[in-house]
Structure formats: C-alpha cells, structure tokens
Symmetry: C2
Subunit: 516 residues, 2 copies
C-alpha cells in the first residue's frame, strides 16, 4: 500500500476519495483465489526468493477463470456490438471498471493476467491511481473541452507541458517535438519532414524559393512538385496503415491487399538463427548481406530514398531482432549517403525493453534523425534534432489539431509514474528473470518454445510456436491474455509494472498449456 | 441562467461545484465593458428587436481589447514556446481558463469574440458547463486511463456509447460507423473501404479469395495487389494532409509541395458568380461543364476512380459553393458508373450550416455511400450504409486504437447539448440574420465585401476581400477573431451557440475595420 499512499498524499481530496472507491471496488468485485502454490516442476525453479515489493498491493493475487471466454454475458454484448461495429477482430470484450494493474476483466467475472496490454499500449496498469489523478485534474478537463488548434491557438502552458513531459524523455541528440495523433500519423509526419528536407537540399537551401514548375506540378500530383522520391523500409516491417505508412509496411498481405501503394523499395531484414551464440558468424554474415542490399537500393532505386525507416525490433512482423552492430551499420550508411535515419519506436518505445527507447541499446554515437512513437505514450509525435528539419516556411507541417494536450498531459503523468517506480529498471530486471524462466521451459518443452528471443531486451520477449493460435487461445483458459505477431510468434508485451511474481504466474500458466 | 441550471440539476454535486467555480472565475477574472450601444449607421439596422434569450448569460457581454495582440505576456510565452515548437503559424496564444462561450481570451487580458473557433472545431463554446460535466465523469476518467485497442478489446459499453452518441446523428441511409482519429484519417479509412469494395466487385464478390498474384504483388507495392485505382477529387478541394488524403487535396501549393503523391484525377469545381440570382443561367452551365468533365475523368482516367470525394462547401480552398443540383448530379453520375460517393463533412458537419449535415440541403433520394467528419465532433469516423462496405475479412480495416472512447463520450455530450439548446435551428436562424446584416454592409462597403456567399447555409458564410489579410489582422484590434480561406476569402466559422446579439457585435466590429 506504501506506493499508493505516497501517490494519494499528493492528491486533491476528491480525487483521492475517487481512487479509494476505485480500489475498494476492485477488491470486492473480483474474487481472488488464495495465494497460489507453484508446484509444477519446470516453473517452480523460477520462483524468486527475493522479497519483492509489489507496486500495487491491491492488485488481484492471480487470475480468475469462471467461464469459457467469451462467457454468456460477453456473448450477448458482442452480439449487440456487432450490429454497429465490426467485431470479427474482437479478442475479448473487456470491463475496464473491473480491471486493475496487470489484470484485465471481462463481463463474466473472468480476470486475466494481461501480457498483451492493448497491443503493447497500456504502460502502467489499468486504473493506475496516479493516472486517475491526472485524468481528473482541472487541466485535463480543460484540455478535453477546449481542444485547441495547436498550430494557430496554442494554450498558454503548451511549452511547459512539452518541457515537463514529452521532451523530458527525448532521445539523446533530439530536442524538438512535433505532436501527432497516432503511430501511423507520426511516421507520415516524419516522412514528410524527410521529403521536404531532401528537396530543400536539392534546391540549394532553405532560402531558395520554390520554382514555378515546382508549384504548378505539385498541384497536379506530378514531379518535381510531387517528387519521385521514396522511403526505404524493411521486409516484415510494420509502420502503419495510412497510404504513405502502408507503403512502407511489409508485414502481411492482409494489411496491404487492395490498397494503392507507392513504388518504394524494401531491403531484407536480417533473419537471425537462434541461439545467437551458436550462430554468431552466420548471423553476422546475414546482417552484412542486408546492409549491402540496403546500400545498393539507396544508390540504385529509381525513386531515391529520402529516408530509411526501421523498427528496433520488428513487432507486427514476427518479433524479428537484429544486433546493435546492424543498426550502427544502418546509421553509418544513411549518413554516408545523406539519407535520413528514422527509428520507428511506436511499439518498442517507452520503457519495455529495459531502456526508455529501444535504440539506446545500440550505442550510437551519431543519433537518429527522427524517432517516432505512440502506444505506451498514448500519444504520437516525432522528434527531431536540429533546425534543419523545420520546413523553410510555416503551414508545411500543419493540421487542425497538431496533437492533443489531453494526451500530452496523460503522457506526462505516465513519465512521472515510470520515474516514481523506476519502471525502466524494473523491465530490465523482470525481463531477465522472465527470460531465464522461458529458457527453462524451452528446455523442458523444446517443441513448444522455439527461437526464444529478446534476451537483454527487457520484457520484450517472443518465441516461435508451431501451434501458435491454439496456444494463445488456451492461455485464456488458464488465466492469461497473450498475443501473437507474424505467422507463428508468441509475443510478450506486458506492462512496465509486470513484476517477478507476475512472471511466476505467467510461466506456471504457460506450462499448464504445454502439458494439456 | 435557466438553461445552465437545467443542466446543473442533473449533475453530481462535485462537478456542479466545479462549474460554479469555473463560472465565477470567468466573471471575476475578465473585465467586461458595459452593455454596448450599437450606434453605427450600417450595423444598427441589424439589431434585432426580438427578445433573445442568451444561452450562456455568464458569457462576456462583448470583447475587451487591452493591448496590441500579441501583448507583452503573450510575446514572452511565444518566445518560450518557439524553442520547442514551431510557432510560425501561431495566430494567438490563448488562455483557455479565461475563455468562455463565444469568447477567447489571451494572456494579456484581451477577450475576443471568436468566429473562427479553432478552425471551425469548437462546437458549443469554451468551457461549456455540460461538456465539463462529461469531461469530469467517471466514464471519461476510465476512458482516458484505460484506452482500449477497440478492435480487439472493446469496452463493454462501446455499443451503447455509439448508439446513444455518434449513431444517433448518423446521416439518413447510413447506420454503421468506423471510428478514427482525425479528419484526414477518416478520409483515408473511407478511401481504403472504397478500394477494397471496388476490388471485391472486380473479383466477383466477397466469397472470392485473393489470388496468389494479388497476394505476392501487394507485398511489393505492385498491381494488382496494390491496384492502379484512384480517388477523384475536385480542384480547390481539401481532404487532409496524409499521403493518400493529400493526393486528393488541391487547395494550395504550400499544402502539397515536396510530398510524393498518387497520380489521381481532379475535376473542376464550379466557379459560381454572385449574386446567384443574377447569374443563374451561367452558373448552371458552369455546373454542367464540371459534371461533364467529372464523367469524362471517371471513364477515361488510366487509374479508374473507386470513389469521388467532395466537400459540400469547399472550405480551406476558399469557401466555394455549388448548388444542390450539382451534388445531385454527382450522386447520379457515381451511381451510373458504379463509383462510390464520399461526402467529406469534416468542416461542414455537425450543425453549422443550419442542418446537422450540410449534405441534407441537397435533397438526395439516394444517400451518399460514406460521410466523413471530425472537427466539431472532436473525433473522426466514417459512416457507411450497408454491409457491402464491410471488408470481406477481419483485420483489413484495423489499427491499434480504432478511435477513442474518450472522444466518443465527449461527442455524445456535444450532441446532447445541441439537442438541449436546439442549436441546429439556432444556426439556421442566426445565419439568416447574420447574412442580412452582411448584405447591408456589402451595400455600404461594396469594395470590402465581394461575392458574399452562404445564404441559407446557416452561419457558414464567407466573402472575398481585396485586402483580406489586413482585415483579419485589424479585426483583432476591434475585438474579433476571424479567419480566412483560400487566397482572399474571409470565412465565418462561429460556434453553434453564436446568437443574434453576437452577430450584432460582429457586424459593428467589422464596420469599424472598414471605416478605419
């Protein structure tokens, strides 16, 4: 209760009462099993002897499964929703009033340990008390009902909100932010910045005016005003589903089919063999092959790339990893050819990999030109590092909203919570513990866990499963909500507040699935 | 005070106290001039003798201008913001704590009548008490801190939020919604739906599987998987600034320069002559010319259009109007050629034109296939009318957020406020009154107000001004915040709570500018 009380003591009385209400509602409404005994052979070895202080002592002690999922109440609600909203992708109808911390509840009294977290988006737990404070503050209410057109009529404290929030965690070497709405949006804003930057260089600098030919051709979507330039991305990469971002997305046909796309190049992304130490030489050769092909495409593609975009860990595409050396090689290549280097941290950003930004693992001395993010930030923007990336005229990067102060306020509260609980360190420590547990399970069930990956990358772990979809489905029956990526990967995306005792529950549940 | 009290009586006590606080803060912090006498010759004729009940009696009685804008405090704040955020498009640094109803305040004690309203986005007034209630509700707090991935884990009351909110105002003939994030996003989602629908027809129906060639070519951005299809838009149209939406935007070069675009067709939009009754025959011929050219492009463009997208009133492009007959002609043409008809109501939607949706003015018997909106809805989505527009498989129209329950809750409160105060009727009535006043001013100052337009379109009025930017700038010195569109239009975008007494103040202020 200590951490909760520390937070609560800073609160306005009304909000504090609201939290107390929330908290008591949680503990009465959900029936928790008594503290579990972890008797299973493989999993028991993973139980920590450390005395671990839970971040949220009011959290359920473990999952509760009362019915099949979906149960009868969920089925009725899904049927109602289907009339007005496509439910074919529905995974679970949630009751967020009954969800808390790492646990997601449904309408039938089922409460699952959630290691999927709204596709890697919930950062510090459902109904986090500190976020509830931020959400019920007068600043938040004003931001919601007086939503400004930020580019024209920013609110008086916008600089302060940025400086005490988003910019406080700006990646090294980058000190400015452009606020957008979603991950796809952030990527497209970054691509636009790259195209403007490239054309400005081609023209000879910011002071050189657009030619009449530029102006006239831009209005009929023809070159040079609408230039024949490209963004280079990687096979199996995912960067969003708007028309520009989708042209760089190469994850799955179902994401791309029937949508017109730009004729932009894709380089191969390294296909690493596991375990890494056993295939060091082969993997290094594979990475060099991919770098060589990237360089060839930069030099030879008919529509020259203005930027290269890459995920630190390819997420939707199947949790594909590459070494820091590969990414340093990309930075060197892009620098050499005067192409911008955009790191898409939409899914990897904000603490889950044991660093605040996943690209911190690379040891770059020359930072990326732009870093995009969304998801755990509950907001999106792109960072840039110098004035060169500001377009030469106003209204070139502009839209009505230009972000959302409400989401920026929430992200500030998320950052404060991450700092208060030292959550980046937590994902590093818990991730290592979880990885070891998975290693032991992989030894006991080698056909179930293949190509285990993400060592040293916090809780951002994954493995291949020959019966992936069945495993995901059965996990619900033992109280775990977990997702997949690519064709056969199980991807773990727990929240930043996922601790060793949660890892124990997860590992035990997973073994139950394997045994069944 | 009656309307406010009616709202307040339904409130939780804490929220009601909060509103009372807000309201008293407003009345004490801003110094209001005494009730004005409208002595000016041209404007005085416009003063209504009706006894008009003000919606918000606590609103300022008129503007206050204390300093040049920006004043010293604003200048300091802008300087601070410039370090981290591009301020070259900044119009006015606002203090939303001090803004109320139709009035926007800055940091130097200036309080302006706002007929620009965050680029046509604020629907029912700054710090609207009913919206404050919604923003401080437990549902809102939960929606903010437990943001779901709606396609996978919708909240249990998502159907109810849609049904009692967005869908309650669905345009005639359309009964489903796909929720997005912004106007650009909504348009791109609609375009994607159109492309999928078109290709499905070409394949022979929803049951026909994608071919191997479709699948393989989609992954390398080539036809047929990434088809050579297009969206037809109109010259001077604006549909957003993402890569797909920008390819249909034809407003200004500064919006498009240096950004790669699809080779999509643009048809001419009618250039009407004013006054309309004087040029009826010429305008009809011009509209027929545009329809003929549209049909030619549909039939002949190498990348056939899957849809035609049009704004009911071209807004960013200069407030260009066409007749209902033109739009009925477009509907007929698209029907004839089996092309979808998308109406972009991002700026015109939600009550400002004297109808909830501007396309209601057209008297269509065959509704549009999709209607997109954002701005005053503080949210975006696209409506569609039948199951044919649901893609044949899940995950084809999908993203992490799929909208935002917090914004959907706010839009529900906006709809309730529109109903409670009968605001669509108000924009019709006030618009007519305002138009007449502008007509009189145009007669008195014919060189200042040219091509006055928007008669019968609520408060969605505009005119051309030979010294437009100067007029906009000087308007601030007499207490009015007003915006432009296109190269020389002054566009009025007051909120839905803009009443006759506001119109009087606006007209009087405008005359001051003309006289100066």
């Amino acid at each position: 209760m200590a951490s909760f009380l520390r937070t609560a003591s800073r609160l306005r009385p009304a909000a504090a009462r609201s939290i107390a209400f929330q908290s008591s509602k949680m503990t009465t409404a959900v029936s928790f099993p008594a503290q579990r005994q972890y008797a299973s052979a493989a999993a028991s070895a993973t139980i920590s002897n450390d005395v671990e202080q839970p971040f949220f002592p009011d959290e359920p002690k473990g999952p509760t499964v009362k019915t099949a999922i979906p149960g009868p109440k969920s089925k009725a609600a899904i049927e109602q929703l289907e009339k007005v909203f496509d439910t074919r992708s529905l995974n679970m109808m949630a009751n967020y009033n009954q969800s808390f911390g790492n646990y997601i509840a449904d309408l039938d009294g089922n409460v699952l340990l959630d290691v999927y977290a709204q596709i890697a988006s919930i950062p510090v737990g459902y109904n986090n008390p500190a976020l509830l404070l931020a959400a019920t503050s007068p600043e938040m209410a004003s931001a919601i009902i007086n939503r400004p057109a930020l580019g024209n009529f920013p609110q008086h404290d916008w600089a302060e909100i940025l400086e005490t929030g988003i910019l406080k965690v700006a990646p090294k070497g980058l000190n400015q932010v452009f606020t957008g709405q979603t991950g796809s949006d952030a990527n497209e804003l970054a691509y636009k910045a790259a195209f403007m930057w490239r054309r400005q260089h081609e023209r000879g600098g910011a002071h050189v005016e657009f030619s009449d030919h530029d102006i006239a051709s831009s209005m009929v979507n023809q070159s040079p005003g609408a230039p024949q330039l490209s963004i280079l991305s990687f096979k199996a990469g995912f960067h969003g589903r708007l028309f520009g971002s989708l042209s760089t997305t190469r994850s799955k046909p179902i994401h791309k089919l029937d949508i017109p796309a730009f004729d932009w190049p894709q380089a191969p992304f390294p296909v690493s063999k596991y375990p890494l130490d056993q295939y060091a030489a082969e993997n290094a050769a594979e990475e060099q092959r991919c770098l060589d092909e990237t360089e060839r495409l930069i030099k030879e593609w008919p529509q020259p790339p203005a930027a290269v975009v890459v995920e630190p860990i390819q997420s939707e595409g199947g949790d594909n990893h590459a070494s820091p050396a590969f990414f340093r090689g990309l930075r060197a290549l892009t620098r050499k050819h005067n192409v911008l280097f955009i790191v898409d941290e939409v899914q990897t950003g904000v603490g889950a990999t044991g660093k605040f930004w996943a690209h911190e693992h690379w040891g770059l001395t020359d930072p990326p030109d732009m870093v995009t993010f969304s998801k755990k930030a509950q907001a999106a923007g792109y960072y840039f590092g110098n004035n060169e990336l500001r377009p030469n005229k106003p209204y070139r990067q502009f839209n009505t909203w230009m972000g959302d102060p409400a989401r920026a306020l929430l992200f500030r509260a998320i950052i404060q919570e991450i700092e208060r609980l030292d959550l980046v360190q937590n994902t590093a420590t818990t991730g290592e513990y979880l990885y070891k547990g998975l290693e032991r399970l992989a030894q006991a069930y080698p056909s179930e866990i293949q190509n285990l990956r993400g060592k040293g990358q916090g809780t951002f772990l994954a493995w291949d499963s020959p019966r992936r979809d069945e495993v995901l489905k059965k996990a619900k029956t033992v109280g775990v909500n977990v997702g997949g990526s690519g064709e056969r990967a199980v991807r773990l995306r727990p929240m930043l507040i996922f601790q060793k005792h949660h890892a124990d529950i997860f590992l035990e549940s997973l073994e139950k699935v394997f045994k069944a």
